[in-house]
């Protein structure tokens, strides 16, 4: 597990690389409440990693620890093999970790294209004075970033709404725009907090397709939280199962499905499985 060079081959023939993110004995408390209790797991390069569990299991808290919105009281976060000191969320984003939110956090007043372009902010090097003085380089950079943004807009099939202000879009499309913005950052690790929450079957199918082809075509490493068990089992390479802040299972979908603790805590009482 600790061997950084180690990887594995998936059943559908994708090469999974070394560990990119490792959580070691993470404990997170809010006052007296322990949201996460001594959890360790890792995420490998090129992998689709799911975190599942019943409501209140601490899944979102875990994602917030990875993205820097919460700072754990105990434990270590290792990113690309190096210990990560406590960081602000914007610093984490600058390190190449992009995310979406359960309740969608978009720039409502901006167009879809502008939203996706903000995803490129971490790639914009030229400072404001250089931009004022050295117009050519700034323009070149703008064009390059624009090309990446347009490519992602095409990829997620939202060309038709490029110029539409986000506030006017329906929920399902907003979720997709948020994904586009996160993807525009060309992240080393993409965190998706319930990407399919509140969607209808058709929208869920679309989103699943995007997640899979994103991983396939761009090799994006993805960690996602999802409630829909069927979706999780189809999408992910490995699954972490949480319950009441503890890790009760970790492994391939099949392993997790047959894990008695998981069946007791989650699958056995799930209403849609």
């Amino acid at each position: 597990m600790l061997d950084q060079s180690e990887g594995y081959m998936t059943a559908d023939g994708r090469q999974i690389g070394p560990v990119v993110m490792e959580m070691k004995n993470i404990t997170l408390r809010f006052g007296g409440v322990e949201a996460i209790k001594d959890i360790s797991f890792d995420i490998r390069e090129g992998e689709v990693r799911a975190i599942i569990g019943p409501n209140g299991a601490g899944k979102s808290s875990m994602l917030n620890v990875i993205s820097g919105f919460y700072v754990p009281q105990d434990g270590q976060v290792l990113y690309k093999g190096a210990l990560r000191p406590p960081m602000r969320p914007y610093q984490v984003a600058q390190q190449g970790i992009a995310r979406t939110f359960q309740n969608i956090a978009l720039f409502e007043g901006m167009s879809v294209l502008d939203n996706v372009m903000t995803g490129r902010l971490t790639h914009m090097k030229t400072g404001m004075f250089a931009q004022a003085l050295w117009k050519g380089r700034a323009e070149k950079e703008e064009t390059e970033n624009r090309e990446v943004a347009e490519k992602i807009i095409d990829f997620l099939e939202i060309q038709a709404i490029r110029k539409t202000p986000v506030a006017r879009l329906p929920y399902g499309l907003k979720k997709r725009v948020e994904l586009a913005r996160a993807l525009a950052a060309e992240p080393s690790l993409l965190l998706l907090d319930e990407p399919m929450a509140g969607m209808n079957v058709e929208e869920k199918e679309d989103m699943s397709r995007f997640i899979l082809s994103m991983n396939d075509e761009f090799g994006t490493t993805i960690a996602l939280i999802e409630h829909d068990m069927g979706v999780v089992m189809d999408l992910s390479d490995r699954v972490v199962v949480m319950d009441y802040g503890k890790k009760i299972g970790d492994g391939t979908p099949d392993e997790v499905r047959n894990n008695q603790a998981v069946i007791d805590a989650y699958l056995g009482v799930a209403h849609d499985e």
Partner: protein, 333 residues
Amino acid sequence: MPTDLLYGAEVVLNGLMSGVLYALVALGFVLIYKASGIFNFAQGVMALFAALTLVGIMEGQVPFSHLINAAFGTDIHHFGWHVPAVAAILLTLVVMVGFAYLVQRFVFRHLVGQEPIILFMATIGLAYFLEGMGDLMWGSEIKTLAVGLPQGGSIWVEENTQWMGFGNEDFYGFFIDKLDMVATVIAAILVLALIAFSQYTKQGRAMRAVADDHQAALSVGVSLNFIWILVWSLAGFVALVAGIMWGAKSGVQFSLSLIALKALPVLMLGGFTSIPGAIVGGLIIGVGEKLFEFSFGPMLGGATENWFAYVLALIFLVFRPQGLFGEKIIERV
């Protein structure tokens, strides 16, 4: 052409010019309000402080000289040098950026997530603190600001508009203050530069992101702290420009901070979140109050300029609470 009509036109022109100055102050409010939701009551005092600092630096005044003299029994007031206007403006800009940093570091960083009314109260405290600081640093006497801006009416405009009277012997051409003309040009450049900055630069884009959604801005790698310092610096820069214009017009005195109150009706007209709104609002108030004074002032006993703007804002509040250009307030039940 009838004399009254010509005078009316001149009143409108002068109103437009004074509206530009209102717009400049309102612009500072809009910048900070958009990016951080803080209604900065201290914007007017910032203009005063910037103007005081500019004069102080230009004339080589020793800051805190009263305090130093009282404490050490010395009698120093001036360094004995004069700093050229351009260098002094740059130095003042540095002071305003430093002020922006201190405000963010020691006040608003500790108030993140607080109610708007608490943030507003903090800016009132800031206003009085800054006013006192200005007094302590540079003294309270009225100063003249001579940065080389032209003064007096423009003879060129007067001579070249005389024909518009079409033989009317009472009309000698429009009287327009040169300073007002310069202020208009500078304000226009400033606004264009600000718009270009927010549309086309990385920091401008980050600024718009922060103005729209804090959480989303964080997730795309924008430091809220940095953007807030940037926005306060920009507001400080706008305050400096406004301070120079007003200071050159009527001397640097502490009543300068009251122009902030005139920016309130401007914002109510234009909307608190719109840069074009601040400009148009400023122009409407400027023209409106001059024209009203010209037409109805004598009937109402004069001095209508003191209250006209507020009454106009009140009427707007009833019919269009979000202002002319503000984001529409939609309540869904």
